[in-house]
Amino acid sequence: MKTICSAVLTAVFAFSVFSGASAETLKKARVRFEASYLDVFKGRKAKPAETVADELRYDRAKGVGQWRFMLQVSTDDRVRFIDAKFSYGKFISGDLHVFGLESVKLDADDFDLLKRDFVMAASKIGSESSSPVVIHRSSKKRLNRTASWKEVRNFRLNPISDLWGAFPSVIKQRGVKVDSLACTVDYESKDGVKGSLGKFVNASKKSSYNEAALHKAIVKIHADAGADPTKINMRKAVDLYIGARLKYTPVD
């Protein structure tokens, strides 16, 4: 962590928005900063990267293209931006823009690290205004996972959050249309019983399952496979769920 002490404080002040519009509140200054980057996001519909054409994806588009990314600063609802150039899916160059701070040049490693830790909304520069904002999972989030014992403590399923965290609500505040972000979740128990836990749509009544709904969904899958539904109480449902394979499929 770099601590800027008296020697460099003046320089930081000189750069920060501290100078200039002194009456402007922090909130207004932030809005002004964001406004200069949001033009390619605002009013557009968000779609999962897995559902859009390759040409809209920075990591799959042919030729050279430029994308703007929006991502969280930390775990809260502040955002920062990246302008980056790619050639055939390969990172060429980029700049990270953080509110009030000098832009930072990124290299491919920097970008990989950010990609690993943050969900990103990407918009291709020069694309039509009807083009979607493409939501990329953080690269450490997998589409397949095994339900773990840790989930006993919170027996519910929130696939939107599992895939994209709080990011949809963060970019919704910036005018991106995220209500229809969706995915399906397939289930396979340890003993091979398969079924669908359903389709989950952000900002709908069915965006997540509380424990009762998850219980019910598991009962249904096993009942469809021939089990006696009256014998699957909550405890049994938890036993079935833990260790089951879950496959997330983002859908349009």
């Binding site: 770099k2 002490c5 006993v152 403590r153």
Partner: protein, 776 residues
């Protein structure tokens, strides 16, 4: 490339990644504060500001997402205002440049001491600020806490109230003999004095509205927590001249707005450095993200009585934090304060590490009302306070703390999925009732390697797992100096193993109301041989506990006696259930209809006294009051009536824990067995299934009434007598019967009659030939 070069290349690659990530770190901007600074300064180290409030202003004026630090240079800060941040602040750190060298005080210096006009032993001075109301101030002299006057100091004032004076919560009788001889009770200063009425687990603090001398009663301004007379142990009067008994005592005269102090030996009124609290908190932080307080000393706050977790002002603690995820307090000292130490409302991934909290009036570390949890409380030292660490939130790591000299419980957890380990807890329960060194509901947790040790006798347990602790392992703990080392209250599926209990006298363990607990492989050092345990039926296993007996005439020398296993006995056979006829023996169509809106007492039915569902499927008694289901019954000439009370889950009834509720899995079903084949299964949902009979239960003859998780729920049912299959016999009509409840959380059944192997149809319902006269 050889191996060394490959390794070097890998190291360089790794370093590159790390360094490039570091380059993405946001910078931190520091603002410096010094008692000798000036608020017109810029806040650099060489030009510090004077107040943290100015530093916060400067930091907030920096319009960027840089991280911010407020650095306190060494010195004593007499704060005029609580430190707050604008809502939605991020990445703030408040730290001492040198740990422990910056003291933030919420108190103000008191000067102008003079001899008290009424008692020359005392000195008096004016409150140096306008009193904002009736508060519990904290007063210090020469860096040492003064003792707020309390009368009497030993046994309480006798309260000659009858046990549970009905609905009386304000009229507090007193015995005049409890006051000093010749004392004029009418002279009590009702503006300043307040009473504290301890009752079981709660104490009420109240001012006196009226002193009804003629009837020897105080009429209180605040209602007591329980009816006066209940758990009656008398009361005390605080902040009165009556209690100014010893040097070091003090009080605040509310009418005159002055402090009265009884100087200690050697204290010269002209030379003492005295302070009185004027702030309720040092920090009042809300809705901020990822903030840290590091290395500061905080002291001198008053207790803003009546300020709850959701009130407008700060909570009653030096550090009041509400809704702040990722909050850290480390390396701090909190001392000499009227409220608590560090309070967090709905904590989320908080870290409280390596703090020293002592001499505070309330709780040291307090996690309130749930939140996401996942907090860490490690390496803290807490001394001299009402309650040590109190955690009402899930998923805590509470490790390596030292807590001692505590009025109530040293460490309380109302939570689950937590680890409570390697803590050292000494001398708790010094002043309060109903608690223990380790207290609370421990669900799905590990309590390991803790030391509990008391120097003096305590009538409360060392480990007290209360209402509904379940699926927790207590192991490797050492509890010394307590005759009652462990009390499991309504706890289930608890394993207590490999602990050491040591007490030089008779000991007791209790599994009151719990079941399916295991008490095995412990070591017990005691005085007398153990031959039985009254709570044996509550244990699935009481086995292999090594008993060591003290050598006669030798202190602290024990010899191995035996490895003791106590066997449970099967449940006794219950006599047949005799069903009384209801008030109107002839069936009245307008009479005892099943009606879920009626309470049991509102039915025109003489319900037979309830029987418990209290036998496990293995035939052993499980006498716990949980699940606490009971069955009542009656009949007229057409129907038999059943009224089933379902004690709803008290398994996890506290905030911070999941209340699995009465629908999903706590009591899934009740099943009644009639005759040789008929069963009636009653579900929570109101659904019923009749098997082994062609009878179709009409809708309306079975109702479920849910009164919430605390009050329980009921099922009401009536069945035609002829359907139930009564057969005539000399004593009346009789049918084979049993009733079963299924508890899904425990995956366990309980019955009214002892089961016989796999056969559950083991009891009888009898309608006697003659009405039972003795039944009302």
């Amino acid at each position: 490339m050889n191996v060394k070069r490959k390794a070097l290349a890998a190291l360089i690659a790794t370093a590159a990644v790390i360094s490039s990530y570091a380059s993405l770190e946001r910078p931190t901007i520091a603002f410096y504060v010094s008692p000798d600074g000036s608020d017109v300064n810029s806040g650099t180290k060489s030009s510090p500001v004077k107040t943290p409030h100015r530093a916060v202003e400067l930091a907030c004026a920096v319009k960027s997402d840089a991280k911010r630090e407020i650095v306190f240079l060494d010195g004593y800060y007499e704060l005029e205002k609580t430190i707050a941040l604008p809502a939605e602040s991020h990445d703030f750190t408040f730290r001492a440049e040198n740990k422990g060298k910056a003291v933030l005080s919420g108190a103000m210096r008191v000067a102008g001491w003079r001899t008290d006009a009424l008692d020359s032993r005392f000195i008096t001075a004016d409150l140096p600020f306008k009193s904002p109301g009736k508060l519990q101030y904290y007063f210090m002299v020469n860096g040492k806490s003064a003792s707020l006057s309390v009368y009497p100091q030993g046994v309480n004032i006798v309260c000659p109230a009858e046990l549970g004076e009905g609905k009386n919560f304000t009229s507090l009788p007193y015995d005049p003999k409890s006051f000093p001889e010749g004392f004029d009770i009418a002279s009590l200063d009702l503006e300043s004095n307040w009473v504290v009425v301890p009752q079981e687990w709660a104490s009420t603090r109240s001012y006196i509205a009226t002193n009804d001398v003629a009837n020897q009663r105080f009429i209180l301004k605040t209602k007591t927590n329980m009816a006066i007379g209940k758990y009656n142990t008398g009361f005390k009067i605080y902040n009165s001249r009556l209690g100014m008994l010893d040097p070091g005592d003090w009080m605040f005269d509310q009418r005159e707005s002055k402090i009265i102090y009884y100087p200690r030996e050697g204290e010269n009124p002209n030379e003492i450095f005295s302070t009185i609290s004027r702030l309720p908190a040092i920090f009042d932080l809300r809705n901020s993200h990822n903030c840290t307080i590091d290395g500061l000393v905080m002291e001198g706050c008053f207790n803003p009585t009546g300020s709850g977790a959701y009130s407008n002002g700060p909570m009653a603690a030096a550090v009041s934090v509400r809704h702040c995820p990722f909050f850290t307090v480390k390396n701090c000292e909190v001392r000499n304060s009227g409220g608590g130490g560090i309070y967090m409302l709905k904590p989320n991934r908080a870290v409280i590490d390596d703090n020293y909290i002592h001499d505070v009036s309330s709780t040291g570390i307090n996690f309130i009302d749930g939140g996401e949890g996942h907090c860490k409380v490690r390496g803290n030292v807490l001394q001299n306070m009402h309650s040590g660490i109190y955690m009402q939130t899930p998923a805590i790591e509470c490790i390596g703390n030292k807590v001692s000299e505590i009025g109530r419980s040293a460490l309380t957890l109302w939570g689950r999925f937590s680890v409570v380990a390697s803590n050292e807890l000494r001398n708790a329960m010094l002043r309060s009732r109903d608690g223990g060194a380790l207290y609370g509901a421990y669900d799905y947790s590990l309590v390991k390697d803790n030391l509990v040790k008391y120097d003096n006798y305590s009538s409360w347990p060392g480990l007290y797992a209360d209402e509904g602790s379940q699926h927790t392992v207590f192991t490797g703990n050492r509890i010394e100096g307590l005759f009652w080392p462990m009390h499991m209250h309504q706890s289930y599926d608890i394993v207590i193993s490999n602990n050491v209990y040591k007490y030089d006298g008779a000991m007791r363990w209790s599994f009151q109301g719990g079941w399916r607990n295991r008490f095995v492989d412990n070591k017990i050092y005691t005085k007398d041989p153990i031959v039985s345990d009254p709570y044996l039926p509550n244990c699935a296993e009481w086995a292999r506990n090594e008993v060591y007996l003290r050598k006669k005439g030798k202190k602290d020398e024990y010899v191995f006696s035996k490895s003791l296993t106590l066997e449970r006995k099967k449940a006794e056979l219950r006599p047949d259930i005799i069903i009384p006829v209801n008030g109107a023996a002839e069936h009245d169509p307008k009479g005892p209809q099943i009606d879920a809106k009626r309470s049991k007492g509102e039915y025109p039915i003489n319900w037979r006294k309830s029987v418990w569902f209290n036998v496990g499927s293995d035939g052993y008694p499980e006498p716990g009051t949980q699940p606490g289901n009971t069955l009542s019954y009656s009949h007229d000439d057409k129907y038999v009536y059943f009224y089933i009370f379902l004690k709803n889950p008290m398994l996890t009834p506290y905030p911070g824990m999941k209340n699995t509720g009465n629908v999903w899995g706590v009591h899934d079903a009740i099943r009644l067995y009639f005759g040789k084949t008929m069963t009636v299964t009653l579900f929570w949902t109101g659904k019923s299934v009749v098997e082994g009979s062609t009878y179709v239960l009409p809708e309306g003859d079975f109702k479920v009434r849910d009164s919430g998780w605390w009050n329980g729920s009921t099922m009401e049912l009536r069945l035609p007598i002829e359907v139930v299959g009564f057969e005539a016999e000399p004593r009346g009509r009789s049918t084979v019967f049993n009733a079963e409840t299924y508890n899904a959380d425990h995956d366990a059944y309980r019955y009214v009659f002892r089961t016989d192997g796999g056969n559950v149809r083991t009891g009888h319902l009898v309608i006697p030939t003659e009405p039972l006269k003795e039944i009302k």
